[in-house]
């Protein structure tokens, strides 16, 4: 069966098309575009992506309103069944607000919106999302966010570190994140949230292709024919 994915669009999402194109090009699979008001997801999904953007104008807190939208109940149920879920940027904020990932993303420590390529270190290459990278590999992926400052209490951070759930770390200070955390996994390893945008680095014309291996890892890890 061909790789089947869904990209969720909330009002204010703006990276949904880029995400869908990246998944299509790299996996050769089918990508369903799903609206936030849909209470049900397409059947037979291998992969769900929550894209970047400014869902609901970042009202209340970034990702807070989107996390309570009808489609997210279906996404949470799918994640709990083991479906692979990736949240990028606003998608990461939505995953923390929905309780699928620990911690919270706060206003950048320097107050300013940060929009640039950043160096990352692949901390864990044993995950479904990172198996095609090497441990400790230095990669470059762009960020574009105002609220990317990852916060969790020390006990939670220690647990994440101990369980290998920090997938990516910034190689230099970017936004004030605790322990320079750029991407975290859930305990089952089927949900990843990250502030950098791998879908914006999938071919040399975009300035690099370091994001490609993330999608290739998922495709290979799920063992679904492209």
């Amino acid at each position: 069966m061909a790789f089947t994915a869904a990209v969720i669009t909330f009002p204010g999402s703006n990276c949904d098309r880029d995400m869908a194109v990246a998944i299509e090009q790299i996996t050769g699979g089918t990508v369903h575009r799903v609206w936030h008001g849909d209470a049900e997801l397409p059947s037979g999904l291998d992969f769900i992506a929550l894209p970047g953007g400014f869902s609901y104008g970042d009202y209340l807190r970034s990702g807070a309103m989107a996390a309570r939208s009808p489609v997210m109940q279906a996404v949470v149920a799918a994640a709990n069944r083991g479906v692979t879920v990736l949240g990028v940027c606003n998608g990461f904020q939505v995953l923390t607000e929905a309780g699928l990932l620990p911690g919270a993303l706060m206003r950048n420590a320097g107050i300013r919106f940060v929009c640039r390529d950043v160096p990352l270190v692949v901390e864990n290459n044993q995950s479904l999302f990172t198996a095609r990278y090497t441990a400790g590999q230095n990669i470059t992926i762009p960020v574009a966010h105002h609220d990317g400052n990852y916060f969790a209490d020390a006990e939670t951070l220690d647990r994440l570190e101990g369980e290998g759930r920090i997938a990516f770390r910034y190689a230099e200070p970017v936004n004030g994140s605790q322990r320079d955390i750029a991407g975290v996994l859930n305990d089952a390893g089927n949900v990843l949230g990250m502030m950098p945008h791998p879908e914006r680095m999938i071919e040399p014309a975009q300035g690099g292709s370091d994001g490609r291996a993330l999608f290739e890892s998922v495709l290979a890890g799920l063992g679904v024919a492209a």
Binding site: L60, R68, P102, M106, N108, A109, N149, F151, G176
Partner: protein, 77 residues
């Protein structure tokens, strides 16, 4: 019934907005400002029959993110 929900950052959570406001106040020449923390005030008009438990649940489920924020419910009238 008028309700005010005061949402504030927990102690120990860095508040970049509060710090920027603090700097701006100093820039305006105000002396003796020791610290600034920025929070959020949410005003609601709810049915008189709304229970305390329901108000508490509203805060826990949506109005505050308890990873980083505390909340306080105030009944105004």
């Amino acid at each position: 019934m008028k309700i005010r929900v005061h949402v504030s950052l927990k102690n120990g959570v860095l508040d970049p907005q509060g710090r920027a406001i603090h700097h701006a106040l100093e820039g305006l020449g105000f002396q003796g400002v020791n610290d600034v923390r920025a929070g959020r005030l949410i005003e609601m008009d709810v049915a008189d029959t709304t229970t305390d438990a329901a108000l508490d649940e509203m805060c826990r489920k949506l109005l505050a993110n308890q990873v980083i924020e505390n909340f306080r419910i105030e009944k105004v009238a």
